[in-house]
């Protein structure tokens, strides 16, 4: 069976674990533990190793879905997980304190460790609708980055599938 690989990264609370759970055709392998860093995010659990799920395309092909931990102190694992990936999906939480800064930081880090395709999914847009989506497009334009970027609801499989399909399409276009 041909095994392909896509990585989900991004800051804590952006929804990486949830995205993989929504998309995976198998029970997701997860490494969630009690979150003590309530200043960073109030959620109960946090990923400290990786998430692993699979999207089965057809009999011969499946895509491994790898989720990274979001917190900076686990950044040692990002290059390990990204190795050989078809693409990296950076998920950003629209309702975070400074999501544009989050995007800038993650792109800067992944530029150093990964040379393949990167696309961006922005989650939780409905939690702060007064903040315009243009902030991301403006930043990408100012910084000469031509990356696909979409608002997504990570609870919906089709939204997450769109991100994966975008990577595959970008690859097919060379």
């Amino acid at each position: 069976m041909q095994r392909l690989k896509i990585v989900f990264s991004g800051p804590m609370g952006a929804g990486k674990t949830q995205a993989i759970a929504s998309l995976s055709d198998i029970d997701v392998v997860s490494t969630e533990v009690l979150n003590t860093d309530l200043d960073a995010h109030t959620k109960a659990l946090t990923t400290v190793g990786m998430d692993y799920g699979e999207l089965i395309l057809d009999e011969g092909t499946s895509i491994g879905l790898y989720g990274t931990p979001g917190q900076e102190r686990f950044s040692f694992i990002w290059p390990i997980l990204s190795q050989g990936a078809l693409g990296v999906i950076i998920l950003i939480d629209h309702s975070a304190a400074d999501p544009v800064q989050d995007l800038a930081r993650y792109l800067a880090t992944f530029d150093k460790i990964y040379q393949g395709r990167i696309i961006v999914g922005v989650s939780q847009v409905d939690r702060l609708p007064e903040r315009p989506f243009e902030i991301y497009r403006n930043w990408l334009l100012e910084n000469n980055r031509n990356l696909p970027i979409f608002p997504v609801d990570l609870r919906h499989k089709d939204d997450v599938l769109l991100l994966v399909e975008t990577i595959i399409t970008a690859l097919e276009q060379g």
Partner: protein, 145 residues
């Protein structure tokens, strides 16, 4: 000024009394067991709680990487349909590392010991188990609401 920032933090941290008592447990472990170059106590999400190092280790990094490794190994044992992964032993050319779960009821932690290459593993494991039992009791004593 520092006190002001500390009181505004929502981080879940061990009680001061727990830290003092836990340090004693780590001291006991080092003195009762030969060959240990360092012992570290960390939260399961990778924050250093307490440590005693005979060498220059980066406690923050050891805590993060160690917690990641133990969580990954626990995921592996689940996939292998085994239960209760309690510890993992890493064998390097010039030393060993043991990472163990400290199954506190309130603030779960991990313990890491770094040892010389020539150690009696059974002795290390015995010392670790004793320390872990003690730490679990301390968590019950100082972190119950």
């Amino acid at each position: 000024m520092n006190a002001l920032f500390e009181s505004q933090s929502n981080r879940v941290k061990p009680a001061e009394a727990y830290l003092v008592a836990a340090k004693e447990v780590l001291h006991e472990l080092i003195h009762a067991t030969s060959g240990i170059d360092g012992v570290l106590l960390a939260t399961t999400d990778g924050f250093e709680v307490s440590s005693i190092f005979q060498k220059d280790y980066d406690g923050g990094k050891l805590s993060a990487v160690g917690s990641s490794i133990l969580a990954l190994v626990q995921a592996l044992t689940n996939e292998a349909q085994l239960t209760g992964c309690r510890s993992v032993i890493l064998d390097a050319q010039d030393g060993k590392i043991m990472i163990s779960a400290v199954p506190n009821n309130h603030q779960p932690m991990i313990a890491i010991v770094v040892t010389k290459q020539q150690v009696l593993l059974g002795q290390i494991m015995h010392g670790m188990n004793k320390a872990i039992n003690h730490l679990v009791e301390l968590d019950q004593q100082y972190h119950s609401k």
